[in-house]
Amino acid sequence: MHRPTLSGRRAVAVGAAAALTLLAGCSNSSGGNGGTASATPTLTGDCAPFQAYAGHSGTTVTMFASILSPESDALERSWAKFSSCTGIKISYVGSNDFESQLPVRVTGGNAPDLAIIPQPGLLAQMVKTGKVVKPPAQTVANESKWAPIWKSYGSVDGTFYAAPMSANMKSLVWYSPKAFAAAGYQVPTTWADLMALSDKIAKSGKNKPWCGGIGSGTATGWPATDWVEEVVLGKYGGDVYDQWISHQVKFSDPQIIDSMNVVQNWMHNPAWVNGGFGDVSSIASTTFQDAGTPILTGKCSMLQQASFYEAQWPKGTTVGPNGDIWAFKLPAVNPSIPTPVEGGGEFVAAFSSRPEVQAVQNYLSTSEWATSRIKQAPGWVSANQGVDPSIYTDPIDQLSAKYLTDPSATFRFDASDLMVAAIGSGQEWKSFTAWFAQNQSVQKTAADIDAAWPQ
């Protein structure tokens, strides 16, 4: 018990020194700002690219989002140059209660200037309050570098409100290239191959082919919605997927039941899951963060999870085509569907039309800002086609960007984020959790969700 005390004292000293250095850094940069603080200044040197946003020095734009440290630190660094050149301070606040706090702040009249909204459903709810301001013309123009479907996800009732800012890809299967090579397995490129490989691994008797976890606190169940969405999109295509979101195609529709049965034979298959954890019901009690760890110990071969799962691998795990961990794209169930890609993204909505707010909004919609963000830290992808794909340093980001910017891919947004909140972030989670935890039948699960759909 003596050693920690000593190292503690040293830690305090180091911390104090670090704080002093940071303070010194701050005062220097604010001193530098003084020179550019005249009205409509001309920005020169390496500030020249920010000329279009000049003239609002000394203003502050508040921003509210669900992104927390360390991801938010990279975000703040990405616009540090913009802020120091233009003099617009961006006051960023992240909260993991974002989804419940934003409606409270907006209806309470205390809305932030900008909000980064990850769910188009929440965007629609915010637009209904009448407080969301339409984006300036420049943002609309910049947005055209994204695939057209993104514009529809940032729109409510045909009116465009929020430009996409980031994208992530969900249609990935994580596996260990080393384990695959040792056992002589090939990466499957079709659904039939994937199923055959799963069967082969199960029959080898060494380990279960799949592991999964849908535990996520109050959001428990969401990874299971992704599995069904992947199958609906990959088997019946984008049109059925869109109609399913609007409930024109019900959960009890034969096509959705069939898709759920595909998942039943895959992630609900007692012979195939849950490698390293237990039986099928352990999927409900395992957190999604932990779900992939058995792949590293050889107790499980594959995990279907989004690109952002990369952050969950322990430090020291090499992620890459020849590393400890890598991912392949989940193949389409129906080979005639062209490259189904399910993903998510974040949208920038404005609650103020002050010129400095619009300047920030414009800047965030450019490929220059996306490039600046990508250079800060891995784990972040833009589907902006103006971004040079070679600047991604992380192999998973490269892989995701390749599919997300592919014009021939069938891209669709995560369906549960688009369905009405009572279903997409409520009943669907609950019923899917019961499906796994209590071995509830597919029919009852579908019927329960349909019954809960708000009339």
Binding site: T62, S69, S91, G94, T293
Partner: protein, 304 residues
Amino acid sequence: MATPTRTGVRRAISSPLASFAVLLVTVVWTVPTLGLLVTSLRPQQDVANTGWWDFFAHPHLTLANYHDVLFNGGFGVQDGLMPYLVNSIAITVPATIFPIVIASMAAYVLAWIPFRGSDAIFFVIFALQVVPLQMALVPLLQLFSGGAHIGGVTIFPALGMGGTYAPVWIAHTMFALPLAVFLLHNFIAQLPRDLIEAARVDGASHFRVFRSIVLPLATPALASFAIFQFLWVWNDLLVGLTFTGGAPESAPMPSRLAQLSGSFGDHWEILTAGAFVSVVVPLIVFFSLQRYFVRGLLAGSVKG
């Protein structure tokens, strides 16, 4: 009169069986806190891979989590928890003093100044405890930021207090008053009538009686309510987050703690360290006021 019963109780409590039961409950109740403390001292890798009890088999200790919490920034704040600690103190101290001052005066008036309708007023204040504070959050926020208007007539102006502590103080004071008035009224009403009448006969004004007799005698009740209110406000996330918007200029510590676990909830070794840092101040308050605490727990709730 109560002596036989009291010794009976004392004997029952001091029996070995009862002592053992108390000890057992204490240990069981302390285990989660111990787990939290151990987790906060373990390296990130260990926390992610094994349960805290694994520490006893593989004791690795580190203060890195505390270092991260106290000195690593985020959200444009460079010095970790310190600004939030200052905010928390700046919110909690006034939000404890305001309701005590208002409630003790109200309790005295309701208990010792007879006037028509005093019982009804006391009953209404008491009944207000039923209103859940969650219900009042959005309307109150609207009132603070936009004021209240009926058909173009402003009844209540917008206060423009965004980014300051004032909305949090007011909200906490409002939510605390019903319980505070109820507790202090019951205590103050039981002060000896002779004492107060004697003071009145000697010509003391109500304010003099309140200041020189009621306040000193009610100290245990005031202190116990102060502890309750202090702990409640200190630990409060909902009100603080709603009325400050979570901005580092005015948000209290719990709103920062809630952010510590990271976007995907994978940094809870930092969260546990943060939780322990935030526990320090309430502990100081508790130990410095604890002699009032046990006395005050019974204050106002039972006769005698």
